[in-house]
């Protein structure tokens, strides 16, 4: 197992290299000019060109890529063209809110959606099943920003229970931290919950039709034990897979959620950087996201062994 983990982590190196090459090349050929943004609208073309030269943007592709790659290998992601701050610092400033949002969303989504999916499968065809599926279709269909606005309107503006926007680090107290996180996590989690609930229901229906479930029931095993111990454990592999895949969904959704709730996370950093053509930041953040995604996949693969002992690495 340990050898497998090490092998998988080592295998991320070529993946990261390919991602690096891809991202750098894509940005190189993409239109847009950070020098023009910096210079402002009143600047002359000569001023823009001088800024471009001072930023090294006039250098050939291979020299720029080589230089950047060398820095990355030395754990230096460079400095933002606009803020002049190290990219690693900017990521460090932004990672806590995004991590907190994603973890809160994940916990919320799994703890709500899995039981809902199990109950819907158990009560297949009943009003509970239909209600759960209606909720799932609705949550998956409504855009994240609409959910966000609705929640903000009711729980912040109308009821004044929660703040509309912002983020409080956990170091400043758990309750203020949680207050700022509830609405964004529910917003971001809505589509995720729908996805997990549907997959859980579908997989559970399949498992509940298996002979061993009928046998367990006939032997007098309690309904709860049948559902949550025997059936759910065997349905877990596809559910865990979807949860893992959904991390990409979370990252994408975090971009919108962070904007709607003005959370200073990595999603907003990425969009800001893309629109400004802040190349070092874009490259750094995408590399980091790629690495995180590879790790999540690894974690999912390892979790398979917990739920299905037949799987061995």
């Amino acid at each position: 197992m340990l050898a497998y983990v090490v092998r998988r982590i080592v295998s991320t190196i070529p993946v990261m290299l390919i991602v690096a090459l891809f991202v750098f090349s894509l940005l190189y050929i993409a239109p847009g000019d950070p020098a023009a943004v910096i210079a402002g609208d009143q600047a002359t073309p000569q001023d823009v060109e001088r800024i471009r030269i001072s930023l090294g943007l006039d250098r050939p592709y291979l020299i720029r890529f080589g230089g950047w790659l060398w820095d990355v290998v030395n754990f230096d992601l460079g400095k933002s063209i606009f803020t002049n701050l190290p990219v690693t610092l900017m990521i460090a400033q932004r990672i806590e809110p995004t991590l907190a949002l994603c973890v809160a969303t994940l916990l919320l989504a799994v703890s709500v959606a899995v039981p809902l999916g199990v109950i819907a499968a158990w009560k297949q065809g009943s009003w509970i099943d239909r209600a759960v599926m209606t909720f799932a279709v609705f949550s998956f269909s409504v855009p994240v920003f609409v959910v966000g606005y609705l929640l903000a309107y009711f729980f912040a503006l109308r009821l004044d229970w929660l703040p509309v926007q912002g983020y409080t680090p956990i170091a400043q107290g758990f309750w203020p931290f949680l207050q700022n996180l509830i609405l964004p996590a529910v917003t971001l989690g809505s589509a995720y919950m729908a996805l997990i609930a549907r997959i859980t229901r579908a997989t559970m229906l399949e498992v509940l039709a298996q002979d061993y479930v009928r046998t367990a029931k006939s032997k007098g095993v309690g309904q709860r034990t049948v559902l949550f111990v025997h059936a759910l454990k065997n349905a877990a592999v596809p559910i865990v897979t979807v949860v893992g895949i959904g991390v990409a969904l979370l990252i994408g959704g975090a971009v919108v959620t962070e904007s709607v709730f003005a959370i200073p996370g990595l999603g907003r950093l990425t969009v800001d950087a893309i629109l400004r053509r802040d190349y070092p930041v874009i490259q750094g953040v995408i590399l980091m996201f790629s690495f995180a995604y590879v790790l999540v996949n690894l974690a999912v693969d390892l979790l398979y062994t917990l739920f299905d002992p037949r799987i061995r690495y």
Binding site: Q42, I53, F82, N84, Q165, P264, V271
Partner: protein, 547 residues
Amino acid sequence: MAASRDHPAEVWGDYTLMKRRCFLKASAVAGISAGALSTPALAQGMGRVLRFVPQANLANLDPVWGTQYVVRNASLLIWDTLYGIDSKLEIKPQMAEGHELSSDGLTWTFKLRSGLKFHDGEPVLTRDVIASLDRWMVRDPLGQMIKAQMDAMEAVDDRSFRIRLRAPFPKMLYALGKNQSPVACIMPERVARTDPFKQIQEYVGSGPMEFVRDEWVPGSRAVWARFADYIPRDETADWMAGGKRMHFDRIEWHVVPDPATASAALQNGEVDWWETPLADLVPTLKRNRNIALDIADPFGNVGSFRMNHLYPPFSDVRARRAIQIALSQEDYMRAVVGSDDALWKAMPSFFTPGTPLYVEDGGDVLKGKRDFDAAKKLLAEAGYKGEPITVLVGTDQPPLNAMGQVTADLLKQLGMTVDYVATDWGTVGQRRAVKTPPGEGGWNIFHTWHAGADCITPAAYTALRTTGDTAWFGWPKSDEIETAIAGWFKASGQAAEKAALAEINRKSMDFVTFVPTGFYMGYQAWRTNLSGVVKGPFPVFWDVKKA
């Protein structure tokens, strides 16, 4: 360039934005004003802190290197200027105690106020001022003009310095005290020695607030703390002039990219002041009794229909005139600001309406019924035969998206073939600098807007210049207009200046340097427990109080 275009990063693309705006309008109708009833519980006990939502993200803080207005606005808290413009557009001493001008108009001698200190405790000396002006002169158009005719800038003593010129420059005080970017901010010499094309590393000034760098999270938050050793002037504060008295220990800028969220935060009392409310949200805010609204910047913005003078059809003045006689400013302005007539004006002029030097000479061509038949005839005379017209539209910027759509319709009505390039502002910013023909990566038309404060006179009005290859994008060339602009720089006194502007306007209308699409303004909104908020070309924080 105006406000939000400095920070395209907060917009998610037009499609999404429009959908959200529609949704928000519906929410507003449904009674979102209930926010007026909510208790701003989260804002209690923060009387000495001002929480402000700026027009855009503060991504850098060098007023010379980064000329975006959000940078200028932030810089005015940190750095002071020798002179400052007031609401009557008069230039008043600020860091300067006064000046003397030699009888031949060639030598300016300035003296600093006593007791000026930088945030690091060091006194402000003339060597700091000279280094700061040296750096500023490289990047500022007026500064470049001073530098071009400057013999020397030298210290007389620690508090006095002189500028010796080869020719009189009547606009000297205006240059030193203007509010347009880049502002002539005074920095410590060690900071000001930075290459003007590279960012400074220290944000040390002598202004009323110190920048709290440790709390700066670009894209989210910027914080200033009151500078205890700042000595305001005795006069009443008036824009950049007068005593800049701060009534807050701390100013926090909260970057809220989503207008609906900013609106809700203001209604909920989580922020105190929002610089640029979206026009769609203004009715909702107006219904909230805890919120006050007023025009933010009385100088507003001037919309621009910019044509490429290098390539047909717009290399021929007749084609440019065809656009000029067919274009309806009302169509553009209604598309930009909607139905609120208080927010826009037609402007048969290149200059900012409502300012003392405003002229309309030669502007009749933009008034009255639009003449499509004559326009089509002019296009035919210019040799236009249906070639594609490449229109660059930054759809992530609502005003530009709106103007682009009106233009597409206008060109079609004129029988032109439209190659509509819908893209983001960052791409427009790059592509407009390309001088190759439109079919080979270049362009024919793009839209932008200029801050009205920049369009009061030709001083900082780069878009008006017609120096050909070195001119602003579109590269218009007219020696006659340049001569007229030079005439304004030499003019002294309001009557002479106004006559010079009349000449420039006439010639520019005739040459069609570009076509102004109208003058429009925006609101600012604040909670009613704030007092002292004034209209201005930048948010004026001094003399604002919070109950």
